[in-house]
């Protein structure tokens, strides 16, 4: 089961924060349960799949689009801004939601709720859910933090190895060239000696020839 609790303000009681819980099984469009509380009383209502379909038809809106609007208003937290207006009439236990457009607002839906005989139980359940959620988030947070630190250590480690490799590659090139030059110079020196020797022998031969 999924649920979302948000803070809302009612048009008729703007100074009293109310809490709206929307819960659903598979998807919002399969139907959902609305719970409304002011911290003292509580009201609950079920909105069925067919009722959602009916509301969408009444508004000449595609069902998917209508559910999307409901989601934005009741679940996504957008309801805390000025985009939506909520109201609840205790007399007929009717919860209504309107969407504000530029100069106009249009009715998004109205749902019948029933006053709960034991509101304390509902409120305790909300608090329990919140505390569980907080604990879960904190645990996730700690886990992500540890992961984060591990990834940073790993990154530093591989970055260090990469820098060492770059440095080692440069050193290798320098080192090999130095050794190569030493060995090459020996060969060049040998070639020079042989040239010199050859020149001397050839010079000697020329002198002999000249004498002859």
């Amino acid at each position: 089961m999924e649920r979302k609790i948000s803070r809302i303000c009612l048009v008729s009681k703007p100074n009293v924060t109310h809490f709206l819980q929307v819960s659903w099984e598979k998807s919002l469009e399969s139907g959902f349960v609305i719970t409304l509380t002011d911290g003292q009383s509580a009201w609950i209502g079920t909105v069925s799949e067919s009722e959602i379909g009916q509301e969408a038809d009444d508004m000449a809106m595609e069902k998917e689009k209508y559910v999307g609007e409901l989601r934005k208003a009741l679940v996504s937290g957008a309801g805390t801004g000025d985009a939506y207006k909520f109201d609840f009439s205790e007399g007929d236990c009717c919860f209504s939601c309107e969407k504000n457009l530029k100069d106009v607002s249009f009715r998004l839906g109205s749902f019948n709720l029933e006053k709960v005989a034991n509101p304390a139980e509902v409120i305790r359940e909300l608090l329990c859910y919140c505390l569980d959620n907080i604990a879960e988030n904190q645990a996730k947070n700690e886990h992500l933090q540890k992961e984060n630190e591990r990834l940073l250590r790993d990154w530093n480690d591989v970055q260090g190895r990469f820098e060492k490799c770059v440095s080692a590659k440069e050193d290798l090139e320098t080192d090999l060239y130095k050794r190569f030059i030493l060995v090459l110079n020996e060969k060049k020196s040998k070639i020079r000696s042989l040239h010199k020797l050859l020149n001397e022998v050839q010079e000697l031969e020329k002198n002999i020839e000249r004498e002859r």
Binding site: D175, R179, F180, L182, V183, E186, K187, K190
Partner: protein, 39 residues
């Protein structure tokens, strides 16, 4: 002995690389590894 010394001096440079015989990867690596301080 002097003649052996003379022979090696004729055939090899001071790093052990032959003047006359072509080198290959293994031999060259061995010659390079024998160079203690290339700097």
């Amino acid at each position: 002995c002097p003649s052996t010394k003379q022979y090696f001096a004729r055939e090899y440079d001071c790093y052990g690389d032959s003047y006359f015989v072509n080198t290959d990867l293994t031999q060259l690596k061995e010659v390079f590894s024998g160079i203690k301080n290339p700097h």
